[in-house]
């Protein structure tokens, strides 16, 4: 039992922290957010050069063979810096589906390019009415001779406007909410019949609704076994959720640090407002929430890396997401409250952190969703 990072993990986190402090401060981030693309290719290249994009992939494809724990500290730095580049969308979700479900040929075609920063990806899965149900897929894929034809509509595909390739889930058999019968396909973002309705998300990232009308892909686009994608989707979304938990810990750290600093410097009635016990206790509760969240992020990352029992893995990831979602909500709301009117303005980074924490609380399932999943998976 130990909780320290090894040397490589620490070095990676340090270099990302330095990079964010130097080249990704609040002003620079603002410019990236305001740019037409809404993300920086330079930043992405730097991530590739640092080796960050290759951590959770096998060495034979150019990766480092690591996992969520190896990324934890880096995810915290990403969270603290409110990085808007599509790291979770590409590395945590879409490329993971390829790495865990794809054939050797598919991995060779995709992973080295991802790791070198030449290829961005997105996972098109969520649909209208699905809410957080991962087994929901009404989009269809039908065999027509040697090709598959995809039809349907996907919502809030994170990173889609920036992606070169999408992994699209589609039903090859079964009813709309059945776990069996879902298949995954690698689809070019520029494929004929695939259209994007892009937008900026509340937390200043890029996403899109994606319509597929008679999109044709070859037999080699099928990822994994036909109709058997659901356990893989669960596994990969759990992995991405664990990364997101670590990212949330970093974002909460910023919210707490900024709020504590404000309590020490802002004066009213001739004294720093941090001398008021009503505010002190609220601040303490924010810090406790963040500590508990950090513990649960450790648990989630450890479970997605090392837990062989899928049910136990899923249950503990859900436990973590419940705690993280609650903490995101508490810390973000309190950070604005304790900043007073200034917290309401766009001028302070803490208000942007509020937006990110608010969205993280719901991404991949809110507290209630994961509470239900946690209870349903109980064996005792």
């Amino acid at each position: 039992m130990h909780f320290d990072y090894n040397e490589e993990q620490q070095l990676l986190a340090d270099s990302i922290r330095r990079f964010i402090a130097k080249d990704y401060d609040f002003d620079k981030r603002k410019k990236i957010v305001a740019s037409p693309e809404g993300a920086s290719d330079d930043v992405w290249r730097t991530f590739a050069e640092m080796g960050l994009l290759g951590i959770p992939f096998a060495p034979e494809y150019g990766g480092f063979g690591g996992g969520a724990i190896d990324l934890m500290s880096a995810m915290e730095a990403i969270g603290e810096g409110l990085v808007v580049e599509p790291f979770v969308a590409t590395i945590g979700l879409a490329a993971q589906l390829v790495a865990r479900g794809g054939s050797d040929a598919q991995k060779r075609a995709v992973l080295p390019a991802v790791i070198e920063g030449r290829l961005k990806m997105a996972f098109a899965h969520t649909e209208a009415g699905a809410r957080y149900d991962l087994a929901h897929a009404a989009t269809t894929a039908k065999k027509a001779g040697k090709v598959w034809v995809l039809d349907g509509e996907k919502r809030v595909v994170l990173g889609a406007p920036l992606a070169d390739k999408l992994v699209v889930s589609a039903r090859t058999s079964g009813g709309t909410s059945e776990p069996r019968g879902i298949s995954l396909f690698l689809v070019d973002r520029k494929a004929a019949g695939l259209n994007l309705r892009p937008y900026v998300t509340l937390d200043e990232m890029r996403a899109a609704d994606v319509t597929l009308k008679g999109v044709e892909v070859g037999a080699d686009a099928l990822l994994g076994t036909e109709g058997q994608a659901w356990p893989l989707i669960e596994e990969v979304v759990d992995f991405a959720t664990a990364l997101l938990c670590a990212e949330a810990v970093g974002a909460m750290k910023h919210a707490n640090d900024a709020t504590l600093e404000y309590l020490k410097t802002r004066k009213q009635f001739g004294v720093p407002i941090g001398t008021f016990q009503a505010l002190q206790h609220r601040m303490v509760d924010m810090v406790i929430a963040a500590e508990q969240a950090r513990s649960m992020a450790c648990l989630a990352c450890a479970k997605v890396d090392g837990e062989k029992d899928a049910r136990e893995r899923a249950r503990m990831v859900s436990a973590s997401k419940v705690k993280i979602a609650d903490a995101c909500r508490q810390v973000s709301q309190e950070s604005i409250q304790l900043h007073g009117g200034m917290g309401m303005t766009e001028e302070l980074k803490v208000s942007h952190t509020f937006r990110r924490l608010t969205m993280i609380a719901q991404l991949f399932g809110d507290a209630e969703h994961h509470l239900a999943r946690f209870a349903a998976l109980d064996r005792s």
């Binding site: 039992m1 130990h2 909780f3 320290d4 990072y5 724990i69 934890m72 504590l260 309590l263 020490k264 941090g274 001398t275 016990q277 002190q280 206790h281 601040m283 303490v284 509760d285 810090v287 406790i288 500590e291 508990q292 969240a293 950090r294 513990s295 649960m296 450790c298 648990l299 990352c301 450890a302 503990m316 436990a319 419940v322 705690k323 209630e368 509470l371 239900a372 946690f374 209870a375 109980d378 005792s380």
Partner: protein
């Protein structure tokens, strides 16, 4: 990072678990599980079983009977005791008076008191709080005036846990009321409870139980040799003890046992024709407590790992464990009470008790009793003050 215990730590845990299973007497196990009041003999009986095994005072120096375990082993041992449902080891002698004597006591005091504490020959209690001095301990007024070879103590202590069982009490008293600072002029005295002039009056709590007392001192003569450390330096001693809080303050082992019990219990209760545990509103509350407990356990392990690596005492981290641990204990006791619904109402039989369900009747009083946890040992608000000051610098 590795959240699992090492093979050596697991082997240690298994050894402790197996020994506890084999050596915890059935009647004590049942009494704890059914929330029955433990007598002085119950408490000392278990103390003596552990003393015989050599496990009653793990953190003491080896020459006085300590086990030489590291912080993780000590934590594992304490949590396993909680998980097994042993009677508590009453801390006043073992983990309060003894560490003070080891740090500040004269050699004669150590020789006189430590073996008796170890063997469970003396039952100790703690004389800190007074009617006007709760969280604000330094305002205490109980007076000790030096007369020849003894002090004469006059005043009153309150909330004195198990004073009615005690042979000895350690007290903070004011030996000099003329000091500039309130923290000065306080002394740490060891007082024999049989000394003339001491009166113990029970304070029955809202659950109907007798745990705490008022202790009155009326011209009580205390030999000078019972002063620990220097006269007027009692605050230094008291502060040392505050920093000596144990790492099992989260009581995770005991809460795990309660959670398992609650799940089994809720599966047997029915609500609208279905097991209560399948009731979404009840289940959500239960799940949240389970998740809180999981988070607390990992937080506790993180702090422990940090202690082991840095060799630093835990400081204000213990306050966090106390806040979360007690909230969880309260939530569990509340859910147990809620699980039985209207059957929580019967309290005690009025006709001798034939056919009376004593276990179910203990659930609501237990809920009442557990309200104390967020008040005692530094209320949770005081813990927040500590974190605010020590960790956050506010």
């Amino acid at each position: 990072m590795d959240l699992n215990y090492s093979p050596e730590e697991l082997a240690f845990r298994d050894e402790v678990r197996a020994w506890l299973n084999a050596n915890l007497p059935d009647d004590l196990r049942r009494k704890v599980a059914e929330y029955q009041e433990l007598t002085r003999e119950d408490l000392l009986g278990w103390h003596r079983i552990l003393a015989k095994k050599g496990w009653v005072a793990p953190s003491w120096p080896k020459e006085w009977g300590g086990t030489g375990w590291n912080v993780v082993q000590r934590y594992i041992f304490e949590e396993e005791c909680g998980y097994a449902g042993t009677p508590p080891l009453i801390p006043f002698g073992l983990s309060m008076c003894a560490p003070v004597l080891l740090k500040f006591g004269a050699e004669a005091q150590k020789k006189r008191f430590l073996p008796r504490i170890y063997n469970g020959d003396d039952f100790w209690c703690q004389g800190y709080s007074e009617p006007g001095s709760g969280s604000d301990l330094a305002s205490l007024k109980t007076k000790a005036v030096r007369q020849g070879d003894h002090y004469v103590v006059n005043g009153q202590k309150i909330w004195t846990t198990l004073a009615h069982y005690a042979d000895w009490i350690f007290c903070l008293v004011r030996s000099d009321s003329g000091t500039a600072k309130r923290q000065e002029g306080i002394s740490f005295l060891l007082i024999d409870m049989k000394t003339p002039g001491i009166t113990v009056r029970p304070l029955v709590l809202l659950d109907g139980g007798h745990e705490v007392n008022e202790v009155f001192f009326d011209d009580v003569k205390v030999p000078l040799e019972n002063l620990v450390f220097e006269e007027g330096k009692g605050w230094t001693v008291a502060k040392y003890l505050l920093g000596h809080e144990r790492m099992n303050t989260g009581r995770i082992g005991a809460s795990k046992r309660e959670l398992t019990k609650l799940k089994e219990f809720a599966a047997r209760q029915t609500s609208n024709g279905r097991p209560l545990i399948d009731d979404v509103r009840f289940r959500d509350k239960l799940s949240r407590v389970e998740i809180e407990l999981t988070a607390l356990e990992i937080t506790n392990l993180r702090f422990l790992d940090q202690m082991r690596r840095t060799g630093q005492p835990p400081g204000a981290d213990v306050s966090m464990l106390k806040i979360k641990g007690t909230e969880i204990q309260q939530a569990l006791s509340e859910l147990m009470m809620q699980a039985v619904g209207p059957l929580a109402q019967p309290f005690k039989p009025s006709n001798g008790g034939d056919g009376f369900d004593f276990f179910t009747a203990a659930l609501a009083p237990r809920y009442c009793n557990m309200r104390k946890t967020t008040i005692y040992a530094g209320s949770n608000e005081i813990q927040r003050n500590i974190i605010s000051k020590m960790t956050l610098g506010l």
